[in-house]
Each structure stands twice: as C-alpha cells, then as structure tokens.
Symmetry: C3
Subunit: 667 residues, 3 copies
C-alpha cells in the first residue's frame, strides 16, 4: 500500500454532499453552513451517474463545474467519487444482462443501487468511460484532494450467479488451477460424483437440492472478491492516467461486509477508508465501533485512515433506528479519531428530502440549524480543529488479534458442527474483554510479523494455512504468548480437514489433540473446575505436552481439559476450548503473561487509547479518554489537554465527555 | 356513489350458494332449508366460470337457468356473480402470460384463485365476454336483485410484475406525469442515479439489491389499485348495458386487504359490500369486527351496506381455526347490523365436500341440520326478521377517525424509523379505546367535511396531502377538537419529507416542532409525568404555541413534552407523540372536550350502538346492546325491544345476549 | 416382497466405503482395520458415477476391480451401489433440463446430490446404462452379496415441477382416471372454477396465489412417489438381467422422508434397508430410534432388515451436531438389532477429508484409531459376533399402530383446522407412551390382517379409505380393541369429506358423532373430568351408542365427552378426542383390556424387546434389555446372556449397558 494522504490542514471533516438533489439556489447556504461547522472536505458525485451522463456517452458536467468552483472559493476541498455504484436507467435498460442474479437464480431489478454484475463487459466499458471522463475533466483541479471510487463495494451486491459471472468464474479457475486434475483434487470432487472432465461443466455454486461443495463455494467467494477488485482496479487505473497525483480510495464497511477481503484490497488503495454504523439497538455498541476502527487501522497497516461515513444520529435501514443521545456523536467520532482516523466524515451533509435514505440523519437535519444535531456538528468541527496536532500520529497497541476473511467465509459455509459458531461473534467476544480490560488491540493477518506483540489472540481461525501455522509457531518460539480459541486450525485453504486429530494445523504448537467436537445444545452451559461458566462448544481433548489450566467440571467433556498452556521455545501457546462467560474470559486474560494495561484500574466504562506522535523534537503520546459511564472518571495522566486547552496533572473526565491529553515522552 | 339497494323485504339474509358443487337432486333440500332459515338472498356463480363457459366462447347456462328458476319459485332472491375471480383452465392454458408474476419474478401457477394479471388484454376480453353473456341472459330476470362482480379484488393477487403490467404501468405514468421531468421530480430520481431519459427505461419496482425508490413503489401501488379498478369498471359497464336497473357491487375485505383503496372504489359501486372474518385466536376480536364494520360504513358514506361474507363458525385458512362459541355468530352478525349492515350473508350456504375451503364453516354444516350451527342459523334468520324496521336507518356517530389507504401504503414501505409502526395497529389502538369508552366512530377521509364531529382522531397519518392538512386546520378553526398521533404529516403524496421540522404538514396547526424521531427499542417502555406508560415511539419535540399536557419522565425524551394541546381558532389541536398504554390513552380521551358517551357508565364489555331512523312519522333510535361479558348488563334505555317483542323501561341484557330497543325521539 | 437375505455369516457389520476418495496406498490399512473391527460388509460405489463413467459411455472400472479383489481376499463382502443418486457433471451439463425444478419454479443447480428429475428421459437412459454396466461386470462376482440401488430416494429431491414432470404427470393421471370426467369428479374441480376440458390444461400444483386444489396435490404426491419408484424398478430390472441371484435393496429413511410411501416400495425389494439418524438435540431420542426401527420392520413385513446407515457419533447437517456419549452408539446399534435389524452399518467407514459431509462421524475418525469412537467400533463388532444366534429370529409385538403415508400427505396439506396437528408428532405421542409402558409395537397398514394384536392404535388417520374402515370394523367385531385418536376418518382418498358428521369413515364403529372440530389456541390446555390435562384439539362430540369414559371439565367442549368406548361385536372401539398429556395417555392405555407388558414394573428408562427364534430344536426368546437410565436395572429374566456369555437367573443391567438373554420356551 502506498500511503498517500489528501492535502488538508488538520483532520478532515465533512461528509457526502449531493448538491444535485437540491435547487442551485441553496448551494450558497450549504457552503456558508459548511464553513460555520468547520467542514473542510466533502464527497461529491457519489451516485450522480444519471446526472453526469444522462444518455450514453453524453456528459453534463455543468453543475459539477459550478459546485466545484463554489467549494473551491470557500476553501472546502473535494473528494470526488466515480458514480459507478449505481448505473443509470439507460444502462440497465440497454443491458439487461448486466443486472445481478442471486444464488436462487433471481434476476434483480433496478430503482435501487449496485444493481450490476461485476463481470458484465458492458459495465466494465461504461464504468471506465465515466471514470475517465471525470478524471480527464477534474484530475488536475486545484480543489480536488481525493478520488473516491464506487461506493461500498460488495454491499449489497456481492456474488452474482449470471451467465457472465459463470463464464468469468471458469476463466478464474483456469488461471488458478491450470489443470482440471488440480481443481478436482482441490475441491475433493470424488465426493458426491463431481469430478469435472471439462471446464465448461463447472457452474457457480447456485442453490441445489442439498449443500454444495464447500471448496467450490469458497473459491466462488474468492472469485467474487477478485471480480469486484478488478472493477476497482479498472477505474483506479483509468483515473491515474489523468490524475496521477491525487490519492485514490474506496470506502470499506468493516465487519458489516463479509464478502470483501480487505487484506487483498488495502494494498491497492492510497488511503484506507471505512464506513461505520452502530448496531443501534445493541448495548455498549461503542465497543463494536472500537473493533471496527481497530480493524480498519489494521488493514491500513497502522497508518492513519479516513472515516468516510458514519451518522450524526439515527440511520434508516435498521429495524428500529435509535437516535444518538446528546454527546454520543462526539464520543463516536473521537473514538474513531483516537483509533487512527485522521478524518471524520458523515453520510451525509444535508438530509435528503426524498428517496430511500431520507430518514438517515445528516449534519444538517430536515429541521435545519435550530436543532441539537446541528449544534453538535458545529461543536465537533471545533473540537477536531483543536486536535490538529494529533494528525499523523500512530496508535500504540497492547495486543494483537488475528483476523482473516477467508477463515470467516469457510467457517460459515453449510454443515459445520454447530451453527452457533459465527466468526464476528467469536472475535467480538475476545475483543470486548480486551476493551473492558483497557487493552488496545491491533488486527493482524495470521502471517504477519507479530514480534512486537506480547500477546496474540486467534479466535476460531477455522481455516489456517500452512504459512499461517508456521508463522504462529515462530512467534511463540521467539517468546510470544499465543491464545487460540476452539475450532481453529481445522482445515486447509481448500476446506479439507487436516488429519490426525484436531486442530491439525496447530496441534503440535498447542501440545494437545482433540478427538471430537462437542458442540453444546441451545442454551446449554457447562461449569469449569475454577468456577467459570461456558457455553456453545466443548472439545474431547487430550494433552500432548500441554498442561491443563482449567478442566470441565460437568457437561459432555466433564473431567477433560478446558483451557491448556504449552511452553514452546521462549513462549507459551494457550488453548481455550469453549466460550467462556465474559467475566471469566477477562479473568483468564489477566492470568496471561504481560497482559496488563497502564489503565487497568479504571472503571470498565472508561475507554483509553493512546496515539504516539511528535511534538516538536520530542516524542509524545496523545491519550484519549472517553467516559461512557455515568460518573466522572479520574485518570492518572498528566500533560496538556487539547480540547479544553488546559494543563492537567491528573485528568478528570465528566460523564459522557472526551479528553485528549498530550503527554511528552523521554527526558 | 349511487346508493341503490337490492329489492328485498327486510334485512338480506343468506350466503354464497354453489349448487354446481352438488348433484341436482339435493337442490330441493337446499331450497327447503333456506326457507326454514329465513334465507332471502343467495350469491350464485362466484367461481363458476369453468362450468358456465367450459370451452372458450361456448356457454352452458342450463344448470344456472334451473337453479335460478327454483330459487325464484321459492322466493329466494339472487345476487348473481361474474365468475371472473378464477379464470378456467382453458384460459390460463391458452394464455400463460396472463398468470401473475410476483415481485420476486416468480410466475404463479393455477389450481387456485385470482391467478391472473389485471393488465392481461386476454383477460380483459374474456372477462367482459362472460360478464356480458351473463348480463344478457339474466339481466332482466325477475329474481335477480344484485350483481356481484368478481370476488374479493386484490386478495390474494394485488400487484403483478409481468411484462403486461410493466407496459401498463408506463402508460399510467405517462398519463399521470405527462413529462419525464415531472416524474423525475416527483420520484426524486436524483437519489441513487435514477433519472429517467425514456419512458421505456421505467420498470416495475421489483426486488432489487437494496430498497427501491419509495415514490416508485407508491405509484406502483396506486397503479395496481387502478388496474384492478379498471377490471371492475369493464365488467360493470358490460353488465349495465344489459341490466341497467339492477344494482352492482363487489365485496371488499376491510383491513385485511391493504392494496385496494376503498375510497377510490366505493363511488363506482351501487352498494358497498364487505367480507369480514375474525382473527380467530385474538382476544376481544369483536372489537376488530366493529372497526371493520365502521370502516365499511365509512366508505359507504354512512349508507347501509351489505355484509357479503362472514362465517358461522371457524374458517379454514388461519393457523388455528377456532370455532365460534354458542351465541357468538349472533353477536357478530347483529354487531354488523347495528353498525349499518342491512344484510347479513355468509360464506357459505352448504359446507363444501372437497376443495381448499372444505373446512370453512357454513350455514349448513357437513353434519347437517342436527347441529348447533344450523340451529343458530335458523334462530338468527328469525331475529333478523324481527329487526326489519331497522333497515334503512343510519348509525349515529360520536367521533371520527381519519383513515387513508395511501398513508398506509407509504407508512409501510422500506426503511422507516421503526418497523414497529404499523398502520392498522395504530388505528386499532385508538379505535379500541373509543370502543371501550362506548363511543361510536365514523371513518372518514382526511379531506372530508368533518363539521358534524366534536372529535376527530388522526392516527399516524404519515402521508398527508396539502389539501388534507388544510381541511384539518379548517375543522379546528371552526371549533373542532383534533387529536393527531405521532408520525403524522411527515411526507407529501410523493413520499417526500416536508421540510423545516416535523410534522411538516401539521406543525403550525399543532403548534409544535419535532426535531428528531426517537423510536424506542424492542420492549422498551417509558413513563410520563402523569404516571402514564408508553412504548414504541417518542419525539424530540419543542413547543411553538402549544402547551404541554404531559411530559416524558424518563427515556430518550425525558423532560420534553409528550402530549400537547394547541388552541387554534375556536378549537383545539392535540398531539400525542408516543403510544400510550391502553388505559392511559382512554384516560386521555376522557380529558378531551365533548368526548363522553351516553353509556359511559357501562362495563367495558358492553357494546352499544345507535341507528337513527323513522318510526311512522317520528324519528326514532334503534339502540343495539351486545353483552360480551359474563354478567348481566343493566342499560338505561327505554322503549320497545324488538328481539323479545317487549316494552322496557330499563333494559336487562343477559350475558352473551343482544337486545335492540326502539326509542322514540322528540315529543 | 421376496425376502432374500445377503449371504453372510452372523449379523452384517460395516458401512459405506469410498476408497475413491483416498489414495490407493491406504486401502490396505482400511482393510486391515476392517478386519480388526469385525467388519464383514461394506457398501461400495455410492456416489461414484463420475469415477466409473468419467465421460458419457466411457467406463473406468479399474479401481473398483482392485478394491473388489482386495476386499474379497480379506473376506469382506460387498454391497455394490449404483451411483445414480448423483449424476456426474458431464450429464447435467449436457442435459440441463434434467435438473429439478422446485414448486416455486426454481431450477436447482449442481455440485450437490440428487440434482435430477425422476421424469427425465435422459436420466432414465443414463442410469440404466451405468446400472447395466455394473451388473454385467460384477453381477457374478463371488464377493458380491447385495445390490444397493441409488441412495436415499426422494431425499432431498422429491417432487419436481419441470416440463418433463408435468408431461409425465398428465400421462399418470390419464392412466389413473381414463376420463377427464372422472378426474374432475375426484378432484372436485367445480370448486374455484377448475374443471378441465383437456388433459393438456393440467399443470403440476405449483405455487399459486392461494392454496392449490388438495386432491391435485395429493395425486401429485402419489405421482412423484411412483415416478421415483419407476426409476428404482428400471435399475433393478437392468441389474436382474445380469445378476439374478444377488438380492437388491435401496435404503429408506423412516419418518425423515415424507414423500416415499414405503408400503408401496417394500414389495419391490428383496431386503428392506433403513438409514436412521438421531434428532441429536432431542431428549430421549432413543425412543424416536425405536419407532424408526419398528416402522422399518413393519414395512419389511416382520422380516429381518438392514440398518444401512446410522452414525457412530455426530452428524453434520443438523443445527447443532451433538456427539454421542460413550456407550450410546452401542445402545443405538443394539436397539436396532433388537427390533429386527440383522445388520448394523454406518455412514461411513472412514471420515471424509473434504466435501459437504466431512464433519459427519465415521467408524474411523479423522483422529485415527487412538480415539474413543474407534475403540467402541471394535467393541461393537465383537458384541455383534456374540449375537450371531439371534439372526433370523422375529420380534414379538404387543400391540399394533396403524401408519399410512397417504394419510400423512393429506393431513399436512394447506388449510386444515389446526396447523398444530402433524402426523409424525401424533404417532410419536402414542408410540412414546407404549414404549414407556414396555410395550413393543408393530406398524401396520390400515387394511392389514390385525387379528394377532390385542390392541390397535390409530393416531390421526385423517384420510381413511373405505377398505381400511371396513377392516378396522372387522377387527373390532372379532374381539379386538381399537383406539382411534382425533381427526381420523375425515376424508376419502380424494381428500373429500365423508358427510353426515365426523368422523365419516369411523362414526358408526366408534358410536359417536362429531359436529365440529374445536382446535385449541396456541399453548391452551384443558382439563378433563378425571383430572387429566390435554391440549391441541377438542371435539364437539355426541354419543351415538358409545359411552363416555372421560368428559371435558373446561375449555370449549366443557361437559362433552372427551374419551369414549363403544362395544362392537366381541371387541371395543375407543376414541380419544384430544391430545392427552403424556402421563395421562399412559394411564388411559393401562385402562384398556389386555395392554400390560411382562416388564411393566421396570423403570421407564429400561427398554426391553424380545425376538423369537430357534435354539436347536426348541423355540427360544432373545430378550434384549437396554438400560438408558442412571441406575442399575434388575430384570426378571433367566437364561443365557450372550454378551457376557454367562447364565443368569435374574438379570442385572448396569446403567448405560445392554444385555441379551436367550430364554428357552416350552418344555
């Protein structure tokens, strides 16, 4: 990844701006209010294709020229989008075979977004044409600081099962496997009579009478990810030809999008961007926010990233769209910032009057400026300006969590031991206990250099490659502490079981062997020997070098080891064979070497994250404290508090408030 | 609406009669039993197309001639149906493109009913042919008193997404909008790149990757309603040519059918008819019955209407088809009658031996005449004869409720603030409290003349036209009391938000502004300052002229107004921003001016409804009392009780019984 | 049914063996381990089509020759399968119209199993070709003892709605009805305008706007069963031509497969086989196992049958695939054996490394031989050898239960009085109380000779033919005790109601008449006069010769008879009009004449089943005792215990253990 940040002073602040939805008369008001709020960046042109190219090959850039100029005059920079996430009616009408087809064979309709197949050649041509035209016209525009390709790839349209997709899938397979023998081997086609004798016999893994070959489905997930990535590359390369100096991004969607493998995409971008939305009804949903932010920073390789979208208050597409409470938007925004987001943008600037998303909150609500939301938007703009010194600094992690999209895909295919094992839930369970322990986690690839981390957590890494297993072993041998949770290391990259006792990929490293999985019944819980409670899963496990840390006291694995520890080289490899209750998992984490936060004594509801940067010629820490609780928090950190502009020897953070202290390091 | 009642003596009594399902030998028994039961009207020919026209264009009227004659000889009048709700096999087989297509693109099969698209030209031709043939042959038959077109329009087939429908939708849009600019404006097509450059680019709003343009969906709902209405008009006009003197109806289905806008249909009928079925498992389902009856009277403009179908006991299509308990059928029937139904008909006369509905109860059960149901059918026939003087009188309303199909359609499209806000539930919540307060409600259009009502309730009228808003304002200014519940007045007829603070259409009238919707979590309740409880919804509301009647005591709107009152002109406009608990809403209603029933002191379980008519040269009231409770009720009403034939000075109504007292008015 | 047992010594033991999924190097290990475990029979070739015929008409039998030889050398007999349950890719690719179509019109994909329509002429040709080729090559092989046609007919693919199916359905109807008049009469097409004027107008009963003609659906279920049976016959006959001496089977799936009428299929087989899988999360799922075993024995006419598949531990396709606990596999296996299975086979020999079923347990787990499962497999092999004398003996029944697939189909069509009445649940409810009363049940056809049974139970036999009703009457008149539960005897074979009061087919025999069904609300219970509790259903019932045994104390039928008894000839006909609570039903059974087990005093958790055979020149009983409880059981049975090889005068069975005592009969 080439990390190239848009030319901006201080943190980016702003949102999606769709002037084409409004009469030009109110543009002046828009821009004045943007200035009032401290907005310095807006995303233009997302979904504007039918306005920019009203008929095939005929462009209307007039309105865009005018708003670009107006923004320029007002010092508001532009993130210009290619509008390719929503082909216009003339396109779908002329190319009905470009509409996506579901796994059930249903051709989807128009009037929505992403109604397009990534393998449509007509779409390839049309999307490159509009991207090129935009780049040619605006690629050198002084006010342009960022390109925004498409919008939210693979949401909602991920896999497509149309004829074009099948044809492309065959090509992709041919490139990957070269011979049918290799493919038949990898897919285990001797099961259920699926040996292929001709490439053209291969179909997309559409709905069939029973479960479909899991290796085929896994490759189709990879293919679909690659097909969309190819769409991105096509547009990016077209833009680069005319606008080589402006960085290019596209906006990811953290754990909301299963299909897009961000590890594969991130190296293709100049800046990593994320769209984050709270699960509104969920309790403590700011922990999910923190996870999303840390994951985004992980795929950005630790570099600052851009929060391309979040909401000032409620969204519109959940079952009950709970509005944010006073102060919540600021806490959300500054939590992202604390976790590495050097820009805080919203969907969207002005609430739409019509269309599917009109009940999505915005910076400027339907009610106008005499509203709580608007006032908080203005305050947040000011706060970000006060935090300008933090820009460019890097988050200081305590531990690492292994995250892997392919493992997620494989884990959630049909017919696993228990449908209750869901990847995001398992990772979140671990993440949440780290968060409540005031530990900041980096998300990493299983084959990454882990040497900087005292502890690495591997939640349910069902699919584990040989390379990953080797890397984890090296990490432990060199002195690291590894903790692996159940149903990890089970299959290889083709979803084939690693034989000889589970978990085949990690058995030696963990010093155990699992003879059989013992998933628990719905609602069933078991007790462990130390009084812990657990649910969801147990293993029929034997020690092969490891020692038992805790045993099962009852349930199907009564008397067998539940948690084990294996000394390997200079390090330790732990294994947790069940889902421990939250507090019990937290207690277990506290028993591991070197896992203690500087802020361990604080209430669980107080979030603390540190970014490390430079202050003049000295290193410094920017310690952000977010008080999610109902009582004032007292935090032992001294330095200069940026939001109130005062020096503190000990920091008091009122309930619901955020503080950022600059603490100088070294002598 | 031309109100033309069928020529009948006394209340209509009878049901659907399908002699074609039985050997002709038993017709004599049928007719003898009908006479025993006091049946004076039967619906013939519903679903008889394949018997009347066994091959395209070849008719067999012999059996119908014979049964018409037999009924005539026995003084049983006929409501003759066109059989067009179920095209025969030869039709579907010859015209497979007439079969309806779902939103998901599935072409539906045969062997059922309403397997036809309203835009099929072949269906138009065939349905007019059979309707004309029937009208030509029977249009002047002495025994014919009513025409019954189709059966239950738009249930189950409402919207169709086939090519014919799309073609017709485009024509309909062209007629409505004239220019694409107007359509693009109305639909807000600048959102998500949907600007249309050619009419042929427009598709039906079929299932797409994400939510589809709500204005497009709303227009498609209007188009679908119009498409079926056109089917009705075609048949009606064909009948009128040969049978100008016989009134024409079709049977509605009250709140069970969302798609059919009865306000649009009713003016096209001579008599309004309704099919009502209890939600069998629901507690107090007689309140839902009362609502349905009042709504039907509303669309009939207050005139007497026909209960075309209900059941003597269980139906067959619910999950658990609970049988009616002894006396329940009579209470149900007389409640409809009390609320304006001058005819009580059943589906059906004789229980089918075969087919999909054989477990639907009937007047004559599978078990024959030695059954509870048959005995009660005979008793009911006698009761209705005793009530003959009531025929033609009009129900006396206490209050009015605004009901609007378009508001219903719009409210329940995708992506609203909370999926928990359902139109029928909201209206029912208000209706039920009025019912329990012994207040009779008329259902009215929002743009109707409301001057006769002391109180008008507007539950969740999400879509509010300018005309409606103006009418409501006029009503209040002239001294009326208006009560509006949350999520009313939000959008215009194109589902576009009325800006400047919610509720845009009613903000001034209510003297408030809502900055933000605060839908509540699942199961969440809040307390109000007067001790009331509420759930589902709250508003972030500020007063702009209104006064706060009650505030929120906790929850997301704590401290803000929950219920407000605004004096406007000679009247008052109330606003209720949440769903109050039933008893709390009842208490609130009791606080409003002029909302007190003559029968307010009665137990909640006693239903009282008054019809006003003439008795000789004097006006009189027919006061129907239905005792749904388990204790005898004593009601302060004096006059002549029609069912027992006795004069009463104070009325005692035993548990489960019904009484109808004629009370003379004036001196 | 020609009962021809495979040539084997002692009970069959083994499982599905798929050597084609493994390198040939490990075959020797497989065979050595099979010998260690006592395996004497394996099923080869299931799903091997793409390996046996890699291209249309080109065969590769080399690998099969080699494994056949290796097994032969090691004395392991072969059950050779035709691989036709999964056509290879070349077939589906060349014949896309052979892929099945759902009721919703969705053409299903490949990559799975049974992706084929039974009416495909191309499939007919291809399946006969491969079956013939196998029979020609191996039909005289010394090591071949059984043919296994297809695999699990009608699971997952039962009904197909493609054009070929529709064409065949019309042919089938023409053969059944000869004239359209007869069909119109049988289907009741006068309901909803469905009279057919041409055979080509008839369609499969695909999803339609509303419920589809139930008689049409019932005939389509019959047709689909026949279409698959024709597939079986085609292959069987092709095999017989080359291999007349080897018995032929196919594996049923007990109550898991609704679509296949085993009464119709069993006579076409030489040996009846069943695949049984526990409902893993269900409490006491060994009772469901016993039911399945008894049902299989019933369709085998009491002759020994083959347990073709079950699992050593967890399966992979349930929501939570609970592993079996130690000893459970042996209890399961020996329960099948006790109930007539003379062979105990597993899916599968060696756990797959890849594919959809890799998490299905096997005889040889992924972990190899140092595992609990493998050790128990070896033990079970030894136990079965000790039980060799039992082979060929016959189970001794106490009572009979009527079971009928057509009644099941009809009962669960759309629009019955209550969706809560499910056939398998109703039968299971009765079966379970018999099981807990230590009574062994035979499953019988309603028209079978019932004279040997003192008690015959008829649970919810909704569809009852005239012949069945006559047979049940004859049984009672001759002295039998019949007990019929609610919603029996309602319709004839065309799903047409038998008029004159329910239950039309059994009204006279039971001496009652039911005027109306009174299904109960969800969760509603009623009390009876003897203190019993019941739910789900009640009847409005009058006595017509019977006497009331118990009445309803409350609920909608309060005061009416709930259980009745009618003396007819030398016997009694009981009727139970509701679902009694388990213990109350057990108490009621105990009140019936002649229903008491020899082992009635044992704990409910002790299962006892007797097989009667010969021991030299004397008859003997083999009494199997399975202790599912947690305490040792003491059973009053004396003789020789086969598993421990000791003589006992009274049998002690430890918790979780199984014992089989040979008890000599006569002098």
């Amino acid at each position: 990844m080439t990390h190239r940040w848009p030319r901006l002073d201080g943190p980016a602040y702003g949102g999606d701006y769709n002037p084409e939805q409004w009469p030009e008369q109110i543009w002046a008001e828009d821009v004045a209010l943007m200035r009032e709020a401290g907005v310095n960046l807006v995303s233009l042109g997302v979904f504007s294709w039918s306005r920019l190219e009203p008929t095939e090959g005929v462009f209307d850039f007039g309105w865009l020229d005018r708003i670009m100029a107006l923004l320029h005059e007002n010092g508001i920079r532009v993130d210009l989008a290619t509008p390719t996430a929503a082909p216009p009616p003339w396109f779908s009408s002329a190319h009905p075979d470009s509409l996506p087809v579901t796994r059930d064979g249903q051709r989807l309709g128009t009037g929505s977004r992403q109604s397009v197949c990534p393998s449509s050649p007509d779409y390839a041509e049309a999307s490159v044409r509009i991207a090129s035209a935009l780049a040619q016209r605006y690629g050198q525009h002084e006010n342009l600081v960022l390109w925004h390709v498409f919008n939210e790839y693979m949401a909602p349209t991920g896999e497509c099962y149309c004829d074009n997709s099948v044809r492309d899938f065959r090509r992709w397979l041919r490139a990957k496997y070269e011979t049918l023998d290799a493919l038949n081997q990898a897919w285990g086609t001797s099961f259920w009579s699926q040996d292929y004798g001709d490439w053209d016999e291969i179909d997309a893994p559409r709905t069939a009478p029973s479960a479909v070959n899991p290796a085929q489905r896994l490759d189709f997930a990879r293919f679909s990810n690659d097909a969309w990535l190819a769409c991105f590359r096509r547009e990016r390369d077209a833009i680069r030809r005319h606008s080589p100096d402006v960085p290019i991004t596209t906006n990811f969607q953290d754990v909301r999008c299963q299909g897009l493998d961000q590890w594969a995409w991130a190296p293709e971008l100049d800046v990593v961007s994320n769209d984050h939305y709270l699960v509104a009804e969920q309790r403590d949903n700011h922990i999910g926010l923190a996870l999303a932010a840390d994951l985004t920073r992980g795929v950005a390789g630790g570099a600052p990233w851009l929060l391309m979208e979040h909401s000032t208050s409620a969204v519109n597409w959940q079952r009950r769209n709970i509005a944010k409470r006073p102060g919540e938007m600021a806490r959300n925004s500054l939590a992202h910032f604390a976790r590495g987001a050097d820009g805080i943008l919203f969907f969207q600037w002005r609430a739409s009057r019509f269309g599917q998303e009109k009940f999505h909150s915005a910076m400027l609500p339907h009610g106008g400026t005499d509203t709580r939301v608007w006032r908080e938007v203005v305050e947040l703009g000011a706060a970000l300006q006060a935090l300008a010194p933090v820009v460019g600094s890097r988050v200081v992690p305590d531990v690492a969590i292994v995250w892997d999209w392919e493992a997620w895909w494989a884990l959630e295919l049909d017919w696993r031991p228990s449908q209750d094992v869901r990847y995001v839930e398992q990772v979140t369970h671990w993440y949440e206990q780290l968060w409540r322990s005031h530990l900041t986690a980096d998300f990493v690839r299983a084959d990454a250099d882990l040497s900087q981390y005292p502890l690495v957590v591997v939640p349910s890494l069902y699919l584990t490659t040989e390379e990953a297993a080797k890397n984890l072993r090296g990490y432990v041998e060199s002195g690291g502490t590894l903790v692996v949770s159940f149903f990890s290391g089970i299959v290889d990259e083709n979803d084939a079981v690693l034989l000889g006792g589970y978990p085949g990929a990690l058995r030696e490293l963990l010093g155990i062997v699992v003879d059989e999985f013992l998933p628990l019944r719905e609602g069933e819980t078991v007790r462990l020997s130390d009084g812990s409670r657990a649910d969801l899963w147990a293993d029929d496990l034997r020690l092969r070098g490891a020692e038992a840390v805790v045993e099962y006291a009852d349930g199907p694995a009564a008397g067998k080891p539940a948690v084990t520890r294996h000394s390997v080289g200079a390090g330790e490899a732990w294994y947790v064979s069940t889902r421990l209750a939250a507090e019990d998992l937290r207690a277990l984490l506290a028993r591991m070497p070197a896992v203690r936060s500087e802020f361990a004594g604080l209430a669980e509801t107080v979030e603390v994250v540190t970014r490390r940067g430079e202050d003049g010629d000295r290193d410094c820490d920017y310690v952000t404290v977010i008080n999610h609780g109902e009582d004032e928090a007292q935090v032992a950190v001294a330095g200069h508090e940026l939001l109130t502009g005062s020096d503190v020897s000990s920091l008091a953070v009122p309930a619901g408030q955020v503080r950022v202290v600059r603490r100088r390091l070294g002598g």
